[in-house]
Amino acid sequence: MNEMQPVFRAFCRMLFWGCLGGVSLQAQAQNESELPPDSIYTIGYARGILKNISGSVEQITEKQMNRELITNPLEAIQGRVSGLTILKSNNGMAALESVRLRGTTSLTSGNDPLIIVDGVLGDLTMLASVYPTDIESFTILKDASETAQYGSRGASGVINIVTKKGRAGKTRVNYNGSFGVSYAYRRLNMLSGTEYRRLAAERGWSILDKGYDTDFQKTIEQTGLQQNHNIAFYGGGDASNYRVSLGFQNREGVIQHEGMKLFTANMNMSQKMLDGLIDCELGLFGSMKRDRTLFDLQKTFYSAAAFNPTFPDFPNPATGGWNQITTASQITNPLAWMDVDNREETSYFSAHARLTFHLLKDLKLVLFGSYTYSTMENAQFLPTTVWGNGQAYRGSRKGEAMLGNAMLTYQKRLGTHFLDVLALGEVEKDRFQGFYTTTTGFSSNELGYHSLQAGALRPWEGTGSYYEEPHLVSFLGRVNYTYNDRYVLTANLRTDASSKFGRKHKWGVFPSVSAAWNVTQERFMRCFRWIDNLKLRAGYGLAGNQGGIDSYTTMALVRPNGVAPVGNSPVVTYESLKNLNPNLKWEVKSTFNAGVDMAFYGNRILLSVNYYRSKTRDMLYQYDVSVPPFAYNKLLANLGSMRNSGTELSIGLTPLRTKDMELNINANVTFQRNKLLSLSGMYEGEHISAAQYTALAGLNGAGLHGGYNNIVYQIVGQPLGVFYLPHCEGLVSDGNGGYTYQIADLNGGGVNLEDGEDRYVAGQATPKTLLGSNISFRYKRFDVSLQINGAFGHKIYNGTALTYMNMNSLPDYNVLSEAPAQNIRDLTATDYWLENGDYVNFDYLTVGWNIPLRKQRFLHGARLALTVNNLGTISGYSGLTPLINSTLVDGTFGVDDKRTYPLSRTYIVSLSLNF
């Protein structure tokens, strides 16, 4: 420590001397002009200034957003917000697989934060309809005391997006455009055709040698071109303003045929009416997205890696079709698989209107209504070359959401007292419906899914439709009181009623309270002039969750369960098909949070620390229950509890700031912990408990069906998602020159791979520590920005290596080039292939140049930038990349199993012009 002190002092001195002033209130170092100290924050329904806020509210404006290479709006804040994890689908397409604020707190799917765009409530899919450059700001609410305003919908945090509006003044036009190229640069190092042939000769195997040397992983790749354009027109006068923007994105993936086209339109208009009595805001946004994606990632990449490399990369000239290897039944010719056509079309339309009545000087009535309509159409064709008899699928899903609320707000300042009161009533009605059809028995592959009649048969189970119409009613009261700008108290009371719950349990009451102390305002703080801001916060609140559960669980209903023969005719019969739970109720999460915000030396050092601890009770989940007493093995019920806690640390440093130069370093670190406390509870007056071990993710592929191939489990008393594996003591000779995994007999009595036997908890799938960092440097008109993300404390199961190191799979399935030397002949899943998942990823590097414009009449600003995306990753992980799913609890959680994309890099040139 003593050696460190001079360094530390020097560092402080440097900071101090570099100090030239400037104001910023967030932990993100930023420019004073962008964010005046009393800037208005949108805190849910309420609006307030920072010193009156008693919870953790992070607002990110355009200046702090990631600017380049953004497909989805949330990428603009990736790495900028502590506790925010974004799992992108790894093909670079717009869709996000999951987003977590402060980790996974529920076992149901209600874990994604609430997304609000200009007051319209939606989910992750709505994000695709907003063009990133149309966004003015993000506000992130994490503390229960603030999210409680949204009751059940805010339980997993809230991300509020405000799009840009027109401004009074001249009419303006903005253009943003970019052009990029992406290509794959690294893939698995499998045996080449020559090596494969040589090995077979050495070991005396008869192989199917077609005489070629093909790297099928390369043959399915393509160079992906992409372009993005966005143009916005805006302007206005004193009484009204408008902004209209149009956006277009066209992206190609790095694997053949992968691509996405997105068209967005966004219109905002506001007008003052009746002498300023009424403010009227109208907004429309819509989008149309067309995707062509890979069908079955595992099949694609498993086939590309393991297919016999002596086969040619062109079709059989005699038949015109692709040669297959029948003995490798779990894979297919990867080039034949490229003929699979899998498309999705998503369209989104949303209209909203807000009327603000200035009833009295301090009293406002706000009426808000929105209607959102979305459709998703899927089409899929599996040709007869890769799928027996061929198969076509068409499906259409439609969602509508109607929301209306009325809000009264009263804001009053009386001397040193400030009072802000809000009352709100809200109704929401959703409607989801859809249908799908599958046909098979194709005599030709020509028409694909465009002609479902081309398939001779429509299997009964391949067709279906559904309809759901859940309703929600809510009331909210909120009081915010500030004394002398120093002491802030906020209390919310929200009640929600959902039609999905049992008759006696529809209503849920979710109160919250928080307090803050602006220490800097105190007289004694005048001695510490170098402290610009010091604020202490604490809060406690409840939030409900009903996310992801289906309608009708509480009602005794029947559905078609099959076709039974009656006489000579088939008759559709009905059955309940799931366990009934009439007492279904709200899942409740209680959170305590405390934090401190600090700013020193003219805001050159910003520090923000937040701690939270939440407990989820009556956890809604499809529990594994026993048959008997239940008829079905899953029961949607409120049992169990889970605890989440964490500390978030944000640091913003501006060590250098002169007229010509500025260096900003922002970093946020999140330490998160999670523990599944219980999976048992009361159901209809009886204590029931769910299964002790529930497998979440396992391995697939040849020789890996069923058996002991479960890897990640949900175990009571452990974090959600732990590796529960047999222990491998090392490799032992199998007596024939090969090696097998020596499995430890952990509990005595012989080796048994079953749950509860010779297995142990070997680590967790979710990172314990997350890091996000951005370093930016400006010199005159040039700027450089580097984004770094990292995750630590978790593990990854390398199922890819387990499979491709198994020499037993030769010659039907190719192996890694290092496999023959190790000569492992075993496919048993043990901790041998459990690896450390820590990584630091250099997300992107951008170099920008603000083009000097001398007294241009029309052009007011121009910027040119070059971005390199996916610079590289530092990691000890032996697989392709440690950036796998370590967030979303599904069948791929924590397991790298033959489905990883080749590593790719993207170069992008972008131009923005302001007229």
């Binding site: 039944s329 027996g388 239940f630 002991y708």
Partner: protein
């Protein structure tokens, strides 16, 4: 004025409250209220009775009595000397699952056993719900209307209990749809056994005498001959089923077990004969051609008693056994898919006399061995189109990885006629799956007679003559062999081996487990997860 305000306010609250609670009720449109689904007699029959037949077959793992994988059939077949699933390099290791079945190392957490348990009990509970609905319906309707429905569901439930008891021994007896946790307690195997016999005996008089294997009103349903067949099976295995401690080496004597049959008291073996005679009297007989029972259109069989109706266009039931046994190129030659798995054991080859001049005629009907031909009679070639596909029956072993015969070891399943128009890689086909048939009735009767000290040659040789084989003396040893040959791939082997006391003995590629000789592996363990979730359940001895 104040009163008026208050009144207005209250009225407002009332309206708001009323509209709110109505607003918060859901109105399902894509599913039906239970009240509507069982309103009339025909609704009740369709949704309360026929609906249950959807669970006799299946299309997902562990669902259905036959046709699917990792379920009742596999537990009764791949644990025996009849069939094995050799590990073939990268294929069929599956975490040691198949080897575990063959070696009787299945453990208490085996997922397939757990899923099979869940499937069987789910069906039982759904039967219970149906019985309760029929009961509720009967309050306002004449008994003669509901009695046949009640009988049919009771008989169906008894059949599922028969499978549960056969596989798991001492199990809970649940007779309602919503049992309390304290009701989940095990009953002695003999008690479950008597319950099944009682249920079947009591429901038989109300059931139709029609054939169940032929299209018509009773196609695929529980009819009287099906129940008789089950009763014969139960009586034949009575020594096993009435044995409450199967690990003590002592079994009750079938001659002293008493069955009350049609007003007479019979011992087990007499009861078997009694029910077999009833089936014969009902007109069931052997088909002249053994293969007619397994043809694509086998609905007209005079021999089949109970089948899973199959139709690739009408029903969802699948039959994956041909698919998972045939070599890839073999299946491809038929225009179907294959997974190159299930093979006959060496015992099968020896019993049939494979490779000897005296080979049983049924071998060629039930198995593919040696070179194979496509439907046009041309030899089937491997991928290189040079080497012909030749199955090597004697090379079968638990793990043939890395051997030159890795992909070709083992004789494969034939038995069912190839349906070249089958869908889903050949899993969706038109051959009805045969669960019970008359040849088994004859073999049961022969065995019962032998066990009762009588001569069973006539019945045995009726079966043998049909396939043109020379006559044999009906001894227990010959009967066990005959059952392996006649009923190959039909899912009876585990039960037969247990009845004959050889299930825990060594057979090819298998040495008995330590302590297995006491017979603990003759029942599967209660799945550990079920034991954990029902604290009153006790795991069987030995597990």
């Amino acid at each position: 004025m104040k009163v008026i305000y208050r009144f207005v306010f209250m009225a407002f609250c009332l309206v708001l409250g009323a509209s709110c609670s109505a607003y918060l009720e859901e109105e399902p449109k894509d599913r039906m209220d239970e009240g509507t689904a069982y309103a009339t007699l025909s609704d009740l029959q369709r949704n309360g009775v026929l609906s249950l037949y959807n669970y006799v077959g299946g299309y997902a793992d562990s669902q259905g009595l036959q046709g699917t994988g990792r379920g009742v059939y596999d537990l009764n077949t791949f644990t025996t000397d009849e069939a094995m699933m050799p590990t073939r390099g990268g294929d069929w290791y599956d975490g040691g699952f198949w080897q575990g079945l063959y070696l009787h190392r299945w453990g208490v957490n085996n997922e397939a056993i757990y899923a099979t348990w869940e499937y069987l009990y789910r069906t039982v509970i759904l039967c219970n719900s149906s019985l309760e609905r029929i009961q509720a319906f009967s309050v306002a309707h004449p008994t003669e209307e509901v009695a046949p429905l009640q009988a049919e569901v009771r008989a169906l439930r008894a059949m599922f209990y028969y499978y549960i008891m056969d596989l798991f021994g001492e199990v809970p007896l649940i007779e309602n749809s919503n049992p309390k946790p304290e009701e989940i307690v095990q009953e002695k195997r003999s008690k479950i056994f008597s319950f099944i016999v009682k249920e079947l005996t009591e429901s038989a008089p109300f059931l139709s005498e029609e054939r169940s294997n032929q299209p018509g009103l009773y196609y695929g349903r529980m009819t009287r001959p099906v129940v008789w067949f089950l009763l014969a099976k139960l009586a034949l295995n009575a020594e096993v089923y009435a044995d409450d401690d199967w690990t003590d080496g002592i079994r009750p004597d079938g001659k002293s077990l008493v069955f009350e049959v049609d007003g007479r008291s019979l011992n087990s073996w007499q009861a078997v004969c009694h029910y077999c005679d009833k089936i014969t009297a009902a007109g069931y007989k052997l088909e002249e051609d053994y293969t007619a029972n397994f043809a694509v259109f086998n609905e007209s069989s005079k021999e089949n008693i109970f089948v899973i109706p199959m139709s690739k266009t009408l029903y969802t039931n699948q039959f994956i056994y041909l698919f998972r046994s045939r070599h890839y190129n073999h299946a491809k030659a038929y225009g179907l898919g294959g997974e190159n798995g299930a093979s006959a054991t060496q015992e099968v080859l020896e019993t049939f006399g494979y490779g000897t001049p005296q080979v049983d005629a049924r071998f060629d009907v039930c198995y593919f061995a040696g070179p194979v031909k496509d439907l046009a009679g041309r030899p089937i070639m491997l991928d290189d189109e040079v080497i012909p596909l030749v199955y090597e029956p004697w090379k079968v072993a638990l793990d043939v990885s890395g051997q030159p015969w890795e992909k070709t070891a083992g004789a494969r399943m034939k038995k069912y006629e190839v349906d070249p128009t089958a869908l889903k890689d050949g899993k969706l086909l038109d051959n009805d799956i045969v669960l019970f048939r008359y040849a088994d009735v004859l073999l049961m009767q022969s065995e019962a007679k032998v066990r009762n000290g009588e001569n069973g040659d006539a019945e045995l040789n009726q079966v043998r003559r049909r396939v043109g084989m020379e006559e044999r003396t009906a001894t227990l040893d010959n009967l066990l062999k005959e059952r392996m040959m006649e009923l190959a791939w039909e899912g009876w082997r585990r039960q037969d081996m247990i009845r004959f006391g050889v299930f825990t003995q060594a057979y090819s590629c298998r040495t008995p487990l330590a302590g297995e000789e006491n017979g603990y592996t003759t029942v599967f363990p209660i799945p550990e997860k079920v034991v954990d979730m029902n604290p009153q359940l006790r795991q069987h001895k030995g597990y």
